[in-house]
Symmetry: C2
Subunit: 627 residues, 2 copies
C-alpha cells in the first residue's frame, strides 16, 4: 500500500557527493527539498580515496565553489594535507589536492545538510519513480510512503543493483557493506530510462602500525597554506604525510599467476571499468612491460589507523591481495584491515540528458554523479550542483544554467557526457578541455561567481569577497599600465637587482611584469607599489604574462561560439535529411544536440555532415521567412 506523505519542490535521491550538492543548491535557492539516502550514515561518504582535488578535479571543486557550492569549504575544513600539484608546469595545470579526513568529512557534511533551511534529510529506500504524462510527479519508498515533487534528481551513485565482487565473494550490496537499491532500476526501465552497467573498484586498507616507513618516500603537504574555497579563511593547518612506494616484479608475478581468480578476468564482473583508474590487474595486463607502478599510502583520517593504498584497486581474493601487497617495500609485514573489491552497478546513459542534466523524455527528472556514468567525487559534486540549480530554474520558469566549454570544466564535463556519452566511467582530465588557459583553477571565481550571483546562489559574503578582489585586480592592472618608468641609471640598477635586463626606452610596469623573472612583489619593493592580497598579485601576474596567449584562445572561443550560437531546433527530423551519413543521422537523432557546436562534437558526425546541417538550417530559415 502507498500513502502520500509529503510534497516537495525537489526530491534528491542519494546523499553522496552529487546528491548533497544538488540538495543544498535547491534548498538555498528556496526550493522545499527532500534529500533521501539509504543510510544517514553514508552522507557524503568517500567509498574510495580519502582525497579531493588533483588535476582537473581540483578545477571542478574551485568552479563549484565559485558558483556557491559546498564541497570546497568542507574539503578545506576536513583537510589533513594540502598540495598544489604541477607547480613546475604552467598555471593552467596547477591543481590543488587535499588529503581528507574521511569520517570527519562525512560528519561535517551531514551536519551542514541537517542545518540547511528548506532541506529535509531522510533515510529512505526509494523503490519507484512516479511519472505521469511524461513528467515526473514524485517517488515512492519501500515503506509505501509517496513523496510528491515537481522535480526529482537521481544521484544514486554505485548503489543501483550494486554487487560487490572479489575472489569468490560476490553479493548484492552497495559500497562498504551498505544496502544497495535493488528495485529502483526496474522502475526507471519501466519509465523508459536507459541504463548501462559500469564497474569500479577500491584497494585494500592497511594498518598504519604494520608499515615500515623507512622504506618509503614521505610526501609532505605544502608549507604555504592554500584552500579550495575562495571564501575559506584557514591560515594554519596541521598536516600528515603520505608515503610513496612501488610495485615490483614479484608483485606482478603474483598478480599474473592469479589473474583467473580476479572478478575482472573470470567473468564475474559484468560492468565496464574506468580506464583512468584501473585495477592493478588491468595495469599489469595492459602495461605488461612496465617494471613498476607507483603507489601512495594515504591516511584515511586523524582518528583511524586505516591507510588507503592508492593505485592498488583489486578484485583478487583477499589472501592474494595480502600476498602481493607484502612484496612491496614498506608493506612487507602489512596487515590488511579491509580487502579491496570491485563493485558493479547500474547507471544512466547520459546521452538521454539535456545540457541542463534534465532527462529529454521525462520532464522534471534530472540525474547527476556516478549515476550519469562518471566516476569521482568532484565530477559527482559538480553535476549535483548543476542539477540542483537547474531543477530550481525549471520550477521558477527560468532558463537553465548551462556552462560552455570555454567557461568551465563543469561545462566540458557535462557537454562531453550529453554529447559524446560514455562507454566507461568518465573521469575529468585537463586534456579534455580545449581552453585550458582560460579555465584555470586560480580564476574560477572570475569566470563563474557573477553567474552564481545571478541565479541567487552566491551570498553577500562571497560576493563581497569576490568583488573586492576583482576591483583590486582591475585597479592594479590599470595602474601598472599607466605607470611608466624611464631607462634611467637608477631604474636600470633596480632592474639589474631583480635579475632582469635593463631598459633602453620607457616602459610601463605592466610590460615589465610580462617578463618571466619579474614578479609583482619585486616591482612593489623596487618602485614602492602598494601591498596586495596574494591572490590579486598572482592574478595580475598571470594577466600580464599570459595576455597574448589568452587573447589568442579567446579568439578561438569566438569562432567556437559562432557554431555554438547556431541553435538546432528541438523538432528537427535528422533522418529526413538525405545528405547526412546514416551514422550521423542516427547519432544526431539520439543526442538531439542543442546547437551546431554540440553537433560537431558528436563522434561519428563529420565536418561534411556539419556542412550539410548548416545548409539544411539555412534552407529551413529561408522557408520559414517565406511563410
Amino acid at each position: 500500500m502507498s500513502y502520500i506523505t509529503d510534497t516537495f519542490d525537489v526530491i534528491v535521491v542519494g546523499a553522496g557527493h552529487a546528491g548533497v550538492e544538488a540538495a543544498l543548491a535547491a534548498a538555498r535557492l528556496g526550493g522545499k527539498t527532500l534529500l533521501a539516502t539509504l543510510s544517514l550514515d553514508n552522507v557524503a561518504l568517500m567509498p574510495c580515496n580519502p582525497s579531493i582535488g588533483g588535476p582537473a578535479k581540483g578545477h571542478l571543486v574551485r568552479e563549484l565553489d565559485a558558483l556557491g557550492g559546498q564541497m570546497g569549504i568542507s574539503a578545506d575544513l576536513a583537510c589533513i594535507q594540502m598540495r598544489l600539484l604541477n607547480t613546475g608546469k604552467g598555471y593552467a595545470v596547477h591543481a590543488l589536492r587535499g588529503q581528507e579526513d574521511k569520517p570527519f568529512y562525512h560528519t561535517l557534511m551531514k551536519k551542514i545538510v541537517e542545518d540547511q533551511e528548506n532541506l529535509e534529510l531522510k533515510q529512505l529506500m526509494i523503490d519507484k519513480l512516479l511519472v505521469e504524462n511524461g513528467a515526473v510527479v514524485g517517488v515512492e519508498a519501500e515503506t509505501g510512503e509517496v513523496f510528491e515533487a515537481k522535480c526529482v534528481i537521481l544521484a544514486t551513485g554505485t548503489y543501483l543493483r550494486g554487487r560487490i565482487v572479489y575472489g569468490q565473494v560476490n553479493y548484492e550490496c552497495g559500497p562498504n557493506g551498505l544496502r544497495s537499491a535493488q528495485k529502483l532500476s526496474a522502475s526507471l526501465l519501466e519509465n523508459g530510462v536507459e541504463l548501462m552497467r559500469f564497474k569500479t573498484g577500491t584497494p585494500a586498507r592497511i594498518d598504519a602500525r604494520s608499515l615500515d616507513y623507512s622504506k618509503m618516500e614521505p610526501q609532505y603537504g605544502d608549507e604555504e597554506v592554500r584552500n579550495f574555497s575562495f571564501i575559506s579563511d584557514i591560515k594554519t593547518r596541521e598536516q600528515v604525510p603520505c608515503y610513496l612506494t612501488y610495485t615490483n616484479e614479484a608483485t606482478h608475478k603474483i598478480i599474473r599467476d592469479n589473474l583467473h581468480l580476479s572478478g575482472m578476468y573470470n567473468g564475474m564482473i559484468e560492468g565496464v571499468g574506468p580506464r583512468y583508474c584501473p585495477s592493478i590487474e588491468s595495469k599489469i595486463v595492459r602495461f605488461a612491460n612496465k617494471e613498476r607502478h607507483q603507489l601512495f599510502i594515504e591516511p584515511e583520517g586523524r582518528s583511524t589507523n586505516e591507510m588507503y593504498v592508492q593505485g592498488m584497486s583489486s578484485s583478487l581474493p583477499a589472501h592474494i591481495q595480502l600476498q602481493f601487497m607484502q612484496t612491496i617495500p614498506g608493506l612487507e609485514h602489512c596487515k590488511m584491515m579491509r580487502a579491496g573489491y570491485a563493485i558493479d552497478y547500474d547507471c544512466l546513459d547520459p546521452l538521454q540528458l539535456r545540457p541542463s542534466l534534465e532527462h529529454k523524455a521525462i520532464s522534471g527528472l534530472f540525474s547527476a554523479g556516478q549515476s550519469n556514468g562518471t566516476s569521482g567525487y568532484e565530477e559527482a559534486a559538480a553535476q549535483g550542483l548543476m542539477a540542483g540549480i537547474n531543477a530550481m530554474m525549471k520550477i521558477n520558469g527560468r532558463e537553465p544554467l548551462v556552462l560552455r566549454r570555454d567557461e568551465a570544466y563543469i561545462g566540458v564535463l557535462i557537454d562531453d557526457l550529453v554529447t559524446k556519452g560514455t562507454s566507461e566511467p568518465y573521469r575529468m582530465m585537463t586534456s579534455r578541455a580545449e581552453y585550458r588557459l582560460l579555465l584555470r583553477q586560480d580564476n574560477a571565481d572570475l569566470r563563474l561567481t557573477e553567474k552564481g550571483r545571478a541565479i541567487g546562489l552566491v551570498d553577500d559574503k562571497r560576493y563581497g569577497i569576490f568583488t573586492e578582489k576583482r576591483t583590486a585586480l582591475e585597479r592594479t592592472v590599470s595602474e601598472l599600465g599607466k605607470q611608466n618608468i624611464s631607462p634611467s641609471a637608477e631604474n636600470n640598477a633596480k632592474l639589474d637587482a631583480m635579475g632582469t635586463a635593463p631598459l633602453r626606452s620607457g616602459s610601463s610596469l605592466l610590460d615589465l611584469l610580462r617578463r618571466k623573472e619579474v614578479t609583482y612583489s619585486k616591482l612593489q619593493q623596487a618602485f614602492g607599489l602598494s601591498e596586495l592580497a596574494p591572490q590579486v598579485a598572482e592574478q595580475a601576474e598571470i594577466f600580464a604574462k599570459y595576455e597574448g596567449y589568452i587573447t589568442k584562445q579567446r579568439q578561438e572561443v569566438e569562432r567556437f561560439m559562432k557554431l555554438e550560437n547556431k541553435r538546432l531546433p528541438d523538432d528537427i527530423d535528422y533522418r529526413a535529411i538525405k545528405e547526412l551519413s546514416s551514422e550521423a543521422a542516427e547519432k544526431l537523432d539520439k543526442v538531439r544536440p542543442a546547437n551546431i557546436g554540440q553537433a560537431s562534437r558528436i563522434s561519428g558526425v563529420s565536418p561534411a555532415d556539419i556542412s550539410v546541417l548548416m545548409i539544411a538550417l539555412e534552407l529551413k530559415r529561408r522557408k520559414e521567412q517565406e511563410e
Copy 2:
C-alpha cells in the same frame, strides 16, 4: 576454496560492545587477538539509545571498569550529559547514566581498538566455525580465508540471520542497513550449538529543528561532574539537555487502530521481544489502562540534529509512526529522519554455557553479549570482558574468573543466564540482585580491582589510584574509630551546630558519623580532621552508616557461600538419582550446575530436590572415601 591465512590465540567474532571488550581484554592479557567485524564502520556502534548506564547498567559499567575494561573510560570521554539517578533513594540504587555522542563514541572506540597492542581489527564476514574433536580450532570467512585460534568468542549481536521489519518493510539485514551474517547460524547448528530467535526494536529519529521545546520539560545534567571510570579525571563537561514529554489518548488511538499493521502483531516478527524495553505497541496493549507513557527526547551527539525518541520503539509503518508522534506535545511538527524498526535475529541459548561463558560441549568456544540472549550495551560489554578474560585464562591454563552473585552484578548477570537461561532478551535490573547493599556502584573498585589485578588486567596506574584510595579509606575509618570525643559543652555546641543531638557520654567520631545528619565534611570542620578525596569521604560515610546492614548481608552471603562451595562433579548422572523430580533431573542434566548454590537457582528445582542432591553428594563422598 579455503586458505589458512593466520593464526591467533583468540578470535573475537563481532566488534560491538561485547566484542570490543573481549578483544581488548584478551590482547591486554597478552593474547594474539583478531577482532572480526562485518564493517569497520560499526565498531562499538550504538544501534539504539545513545546512552550508557542507568540502574543496574551503570553498576555493570563501573564493575567492568574496576576490572580493567574500556567502556567506562570511553563513555566518560564521549559523554554529553551525565546524571546520577535515584539520589533520593539509598546508595545501593544510585546509578550513573551518561548521554553519549554516538558517532564520537564509535570513532573513539575504533581508534582505541586500532591502537591496542596484540590486537588486529579486520573487516570480515565469518561464515563458519571450525571445530575438531570437540574443540574449536578457528573460523572461516566468506573470502575463504581461514583464521586459526585456540579460542573463539562469538559476539555477533543482532546480526545472525538479522531481519528488519516495520510495516510492509521486511528484509534481511543487520541494524542500521548494515550487512547481516546469513551463514554463520547454519555452521553453529551443524556443530551442535543451540539457537533461539529473539527480537528487539528501536524508535524513530527526529529532526532537532522540528521540535517545540517550550512544550517539553528540559532534563539537565548534574552540576557536579561525575565519571564512570575510577581512573577518569574529567573535571568539566559541557552538557546538553534532554526533554521529557508524554504520549496521550490520541497517540494510543492511532496505535490501537493500526495494530494489525505492526510486525509485532501481524506475525511478521518471529523472535521474542524484550519485556523491559517493549515497543510502544506492546505498551499500549499490555498496559491498556495507562493514560500516558513517558518519552525522553535525547540528542544523538554534538555533530548531528538527529534526536532519539526513547520509549517509542515501533514496527508500525513509517507514515503511522510519524502520525502518532505528531500527536505528542512538542512533536506536533516533527520531521522523521529515520523510521523505527524491529529486528529479528538468532542467538545462543545461554544454558549451553559454563559460568566462564565457555560452551559446555565445544572446548574453547565462548559467547558474549546479545548473542547470549541479553539486550543492552552494558550487559554485552560486561560479558565481553569476562569472555575475553576467560579465553586467556584457559589458554594460560589458569582457573576461569567467575564472579559470584554477592561480588558483582556481572556475577548475577552471568549466573542468571547460565543457570536460568532466558526466554526473552535479558536485561540487567537491580531487582535481580540479592545483595544490592554490597553491590553498590560506588564500591565496585573495592570489590573487584584486586581481582582485575590478579589476572593482570589492572595496570599500575589504575592499581595505584585504587590502593591509594583504599589505604586512605582504611586509615580514615580506623582513625575515626580511635578518636573519642567527650560530652563537653564545647563539643555538644559543635554537634548542635551540625543539627545533631548532644552527647551524654563519650563517643568515637565513627559512631557520630553513623548518624544520618552527620557528614564527614561536617566532622572535618568541627574537629579539624584532614581533608579527604570526595570518594574516600563518601566511602567512609557509607561504611559508618550502613555497617549494620552490610554485616547482616554479609552473613547471608556466608550462608549462601556454604551452598556455593558444595561443588557438583561434572560427571554426575542426575537421571540415575531416582528421588529427584523428573523435571529437576532434566533441568539439572541440561544446566549441569557447578555447585549446589547454582542448582538451587534453577527454576523447577525445589528445596526438596536440593536435599536429595545433598544426600546423594554425601553418599558419593563416603563411597569414594571407602574405595
